[in-house]
Amino acid sequence: MMETLVEAFSIPVIRHAFIGMTIAGATLSLLGVIVVSLHLTAIRFTLMHVGLLGAAAGLALGFSSTTGAFTLVLVASVVMGTMVNQKTVAASSISGLFMTGSLAGAFLLLAGTGVPAMQVFDIFAGNILMMTQTDVVFTASVGMVVVLVFVFAYREIQLVLLNRELAQVLGVPVDAIMTGMFVLLGLGIATALRLVGALLVDAIILLPAMAALRFARNFGMALVLSSLFGLTTTIGGFLVALFFDLPVGASAAMVATLLLGISMIIARISAH
């Protein structure tokens, strides 16, 4: 087993993929705490669909699908964050608007430009083994931004998640923080798209946080557990994929699903 590991990690592509997954698991999973606390599960699903349109647009314009997806997800997260802050349209309506619009746009682009559909749908599966050193550095940078934001604005984020009305009265810049969290979420989803694909983004971002929030008794504990569960998901998934010759994204998603399932059982047992 050890030999297999040493042999695998001597290959740069595997090494990059492992480091990328580890960083993503430890840092991007923190964003799940925001998603769950603000009931943003629909919006993060929308951003995945926006990623599909971005992939199609990227290929149509001569860029890579991941570059297109990354850019559009980031832009959409800013726009959606601003719209949610204005409170003139419900978050669910914004979500529906962007999701349907993105899917329609993606299919129209596919039909109109002759971009091969299979290439676009690669965005759903991701391609962790195509990670370069630059990708690793980029993932690490995004991860660092996420961690720094939580460290710097730890109590401000807590206040906004706890009670936005109160936060506003106390003088916390609620709208700026909400927009910032949307952008951060977009950045995280766009980064995770490159690693595990749109369908499995939840494995890194959402499921570890959902499991963590079942055990956490305070915000700090929720973040630490989320990060630990994220690490377990990505490292566990990576090793399972390596030893059993399975796809990395799907293996990580399976580990995350098991983790959440076990946490639900434990939480239920300890409640009785």
Binding site: R155, L161, L162, N163, L166, A167, L170, V172, R217, N218
Partner: protein, 235 residues
């Protein structure tokens, strides 16, 4: 900045109008609240009750008229910040919160903008004060519990402790008893009344529910953005 330190009023609104975009909410409203007084403001949805609290807390600017709070006119950012430091705010109960926050931390957050803010950590004395305020509402033993595990009534008592941690001269309460069952409602009303006696803050409560006379020296009924009824409450 204009200071009226000799003012007898905790809140002095003169000919205030407010609107959301082109929709007027308050029209030429004048209201004065004495220091230490307890006011309950009632009225139907859309009558401008919550807007009034936003104007007093400085989170909204009037389109016309003046708003003086605790001797400061709220016409610039600096004065709004100063006033916020002396205001406690109790919102209606947060139903089914998803965020994990300990009871003590939740109370401590009420000090944001006074003892700590961006990048500045609260001190041990602040945590001690949070426990002290929890004791005021009888929940110090639950200080390390997650707020998600508390009942609605307990969560609202925690919110009351959070409103009081700033040692506020003025406490604004927006529908504090909404969604509480009758026992929790009665308990909260009695606690607010008792704490008012102990601490002597001015309170303005907005509620669409009929609240006990324990909480009001004066009742004001708003309708269509203007005062429709103005009644002294007999002891």
């Amino acid at each position: 900045m204009s200071i009226h330190s000799g003012s007898h009023y905790a809140v002095d609104l003169q000919s205030v109008s407010a609107s959301y975009g082109s929709t007027p909410v308050l029209d030429n409203l004048t209201l004065q609240v004495h220091k230490g007084e307890r006011i309950v403001i009632s009225g139907p949805n859309g009558s401008g009750k919550s807007t009034l609290l936003k104007l007093i807390s400085g989170t909204m600017k009037p389109t016309d008229g003046t708003v003086d709070v605790l001797g400061l006119r709220l016409d610039n950012q600096l004065d709004r910040q100063r006033i916020r430091q002396q205001i406690g705010f109790l919102t209606q109960i947060q139903q089914d919160p998803e965020i994990a926050v300990s009871v003590c931390e939740s109370v401590l957050l009420g000090l944001w903008g006074t003892r700590f803010s961006w990048g500045k950590r609260p001190a041990k004395a602040d945590r001690d004060k949070a426990i002290d305020r929890l004791a005021l509402v009888g929940l110090e033993e639950l200080a390390h519990r997650d707020i998600r595990t508390l009942s609605g009534g307990q969560r609202q008592r925690v919110a009351l402790a959070r409103a009081l941690i700033r040692d506020p001269a003025l406490v604004l309460m927006d529908e504090p008893t909404t969604y509480l069952d009758s026992t929790a409602k009665e308990d909260l009303v009695n606690r607010i009344a008792e704490l008012h006696r102990q601490l002597g803050f001015t309170s303005i409560i907005v509620s669409h529910e009929p609240l006990s006379a324990l909480l009001s020296d004066r009742r004001i009924h708003l309708e269509s953005g203007a005062v429709q009824e103005y009644r002294e409450v007999q002891p």
